[in-house]
């Protein structure tokens, strides 16, 4: 019996073939590619008629901006929206899943969804995954019981607040809110305050940037204002293109034709039946 080992195809499941190589690379200092995080400034506040949510639009992968104009304000229900910070895939998947569940719930009950329902569905899911689903959310909406604003942390804890900020730019935005927020703001004042807070995050935090997205939710009405403010408008390169001042001089021309090599194939046997 020969003792040569036969290459068997993998039976399925995780293949550990590359783990040694990865370990070796890590020891030599090569970093594995990072996943896309949203860095981010997201805010929400309650004004006299409802809730205003705001977000920046920069998505980062490590120190590279991978999306200059992404959407961080996610639809949950006709009267509820959610801003997401953290790992982009996690925030999108979790808000999409709860959106689906809320839709089914609306069919069964025949009623408008409540913000606390969305809150409970989100926090139960995040708690179940013990913080591995890295989604930090600002949830806001107006339902029969009035306007509500909540923050949800990746481990599943929540806060109910009149104004809230999350993400890497949250401190810059919170500084603006703490100094200028008061109860009973009008819609104009609320929008201006939210824009100021997001801009504070955009200009002072590296993880946030580009434009300001807003969502204003009132009883029975919502306005999704995509790119409400564009403080970092990118001026494009001139359409004339570049001109080079000095032309390249031709010093020598040498043409070598390649030998033609043609193989003549005799009419081969017809394919066997």
């Amino acid at each position: 019996m020969s003792t040569s080992s036969v290459e068997l195809p993998p039976k399925g499941g995780f293949s550990f073939d590359l783990c040694k190589r990865n370990e070796m690379l890590a020891k030599k200092g090569a970093n594995p590619p990072s996943f896309r995080k949203t860095g981010t400034t997201i805010v929400g506040l309650i004004f006299q008629d409802g809730v205003i949510l705001g977000a920046d639009t920069r998505a980062t992968a490590g120190s590279i901006v991978c999306d200059k104009n992404c959407e961080k304000i996610h639809y949950m229900a006709p009267n509820i929206y959610c801003c997401g910070a953290g790992t982009a895939a996690d925030t999108e998947a979790v808000t999409d899943m709860v959106n689906s569940q809320l839709q089914l719930h609306r069919y069964h009950t025949g009623r408008e969804s409540r913000v606390v329902t969305a809150l409970t569905l989100l926090k139960s899911h995040l708690f179940k995954y013990q913080g591995h689903v890295q989604a930090a959310l600002v949830l806001g909406g107006v339902d029969v019981t009035g306007p509500h604003l909540h923050t949800i942390y990746p481990h599943g804890s929540t806060d109910t607040l009149p104004f809230a900020t999350m993400g890497s730019g949250s401190l810059a935005a919170m500084a603006v809110f703490e100094s200028k927020y008061r109860e009973g703001l009008s819609k104009e004042e609320g929008i201006n305050l939210v824009c100021e807070a997001i801009c504070a995050g955009i200009f002072n935090d590296l993880g946030s940037g580009s434009n300001v997205d807003l969502c204003v939710i009132t009883k029975g009405h919502k306005e999704y204002l995509r790119n409400y403010q564009v403080p970092n408008h990118r001026a494009h390169i001139s359409s004339k293109g570049f001109t080079f001042p000095k032309k390249t001089e031709v010093l020598l021309t040498k043409i070598t034709p390649l030998d033609e090599k043609v193989e003549v194939i005799e009419a081969g046997d017809a394919m066997e039946e």
Partner: protein, 235 residues
Amino acid sequence: MGDSQYSFSLTTFSPSGKLVQIEHALTAVGSGQTSLGIKAANGVVIATEKKLPSILVDETSVQKIQCMTPNIGVVYSGMGPDFRVLVRKSRKQAEQYHRLYKEPIPVTQLVRETAAVMQEFTQSGGVRPFGVSLLVAGYDDKGPQLYQVDPSGSYFSWKASAMGKNVSNAKTFLEKRYTDDMELDDAVHTAILTLKEGFEGQISGKNIEIGIIGADKNFRVLTPNEIEDYLAEVE
């Protein structure tokens, strides 16, 4: 009946090649309240009788026509509780399809999945078939569509159909009255007249239910007042 020895077990064929339990399920459907559907050129209408067992029942709490997605609605003949379970399952399937493909589920797909559920219950141990036949009305990219799904899990596309107690009279009436280029309003009038044919007692906005879907792809159930308006037009 010679088949009676085989009529208790659902998963056993009788010598004549029938599954007797399904035949019985169809009988249950046939003794349910009449319902019908008509496909017009620019929409679909489904309607049913809503005869309540006593005048003490609050008729606003009963809704026989349900919507499964914003552009697909359904009505039944037969056992109400079985209908509720099917609608719940179908809604979930429609939502799962939407999550997977990010498109609203086409009418044929939803009908197929609902029919598959009904068929499962004809080939499993310890369960009985659903005692309902469904009329599914929808409007998607392929235009207006009307499907009937039976307890056996078979489904058919119809231009106009009826089920329940008064099925033969209703179908004859529809055959005479149906035209391919009917508009949605005409279809509603025809539906009301068909229901009126076999209706015992005084027909009104409170003892029939009508659901329509037009080119706006929004399924909705008419309010009793709207039904009264249509009834007045028909008189």
